[in-house]
Amino acid sequence: MAATPTQDLPPKGGYAPVNFTRIPARSYFNGYQLFAGFGVVSAVACYMYYKTYSLVRREDIEMRSGRLAVEPLLLAERDREFLKQIRRNRDEEARLMANVEGWEVGTYHGERIYKTIPSERFIDPVINEYFAHGPSKAYTDNAFFSLFS
């Protein structure tokens, strides 16, 4: 009949033997050495960190010292300007509410804002009130200083 079909047979004499014994990975350090290495690296890093942190703290002290030295000058100027602005606000309010009946400057139709404290006491104005008469950009820039500076 037709030629014999070719078959995928094993080679003559059979396959070569397969080596299935375990070959473990080559280890360079044992467990104790690894822990020791970790300790050494940690110690060196700790020393470097200590040195750097001391330096950072010294720099912080210097910077803080410089800022505290300048602080009274800046505060003095700021306080004077603050009081000037309060006076300007009060005058502006007097001008605005001149024709309103029963209005006293700094009160709500004659009623005091803080009723139980003595009237000589200085209470800081609310920030909306402090910037009420100017452009709103002044309010946003100053009230949200860290966002817009």
Partner: protein
């Protein structure tokens, strides 16, 4: 808010020409500010502080202007925060100049971070101890004003 009768200083009292060691004046001013908690009561001390600082700047301007402006320029442009560590060279030159001309040494490291005890001539303000009466005092009657024309008085409702 501040009524008509509320004592505020006038414009003349507040207008001061603006900018040696100024340590005494600075300490006095900060003590006043902390104790009185009222900017109106510390105006004299504040003026002393500004006057002292301006005198110092005048002295520097006469003798050490070059070094001062170079140091300031370096601090300004070297880092975001005006850190001192990037400007040691200019600082050395400036310190030498100030020591030669004005006889002022740079204060010790961390000098201004130390707490200071200020012996001030001004008497300490008396703090009244809190009083706790038996029954709360009744609030005064509200004046007859009608309804609120613009809604709530709370300032955060715009």
């Amino acid at each position: 808010m501040f009524t008509k009768d509320f004592p505020l200083p006038t414009e003349e009292e507040l207008t001061v020409q603006e900018i040696n060691t100024c340590e005494e004046q600075n300490n006095e001013y900060m003590l006043c500010r902390k104790e009185e908690k009222d900017p109106r009561k510390c105006l004299d001390e504040g003026k002393a502080v500004t006057a002292c600082s301006l005198n110092f700047f005048r002295k520097i301007k006469k003798s050490c202007l070059e070094e001062f402006s170079q140091y300031a320029n370096c601090l300004d442009k070297s880092s975001r925060d005006m850190e001192y560590k990037y400007c040691r060279n200019t600082q050395a030159i400036y310190d030498k100049c100030v020591l030669d001309n004005l006889g002022l040494e740079r204060p010790d490291f961390g000098y201004f971070c130390e707490p200071k005890i200020v012996d001030s001539k001004r008497p300490k303000p008396i703090e009244e101890p809190l009083s706790f009466p038996d029954a709360p005092e009744p609030l005064p009657e509200l004046p007859v004003g009608g309804e609120a024309r613009y809604g709530s008085r709370k300032f955060w409702f715009q």
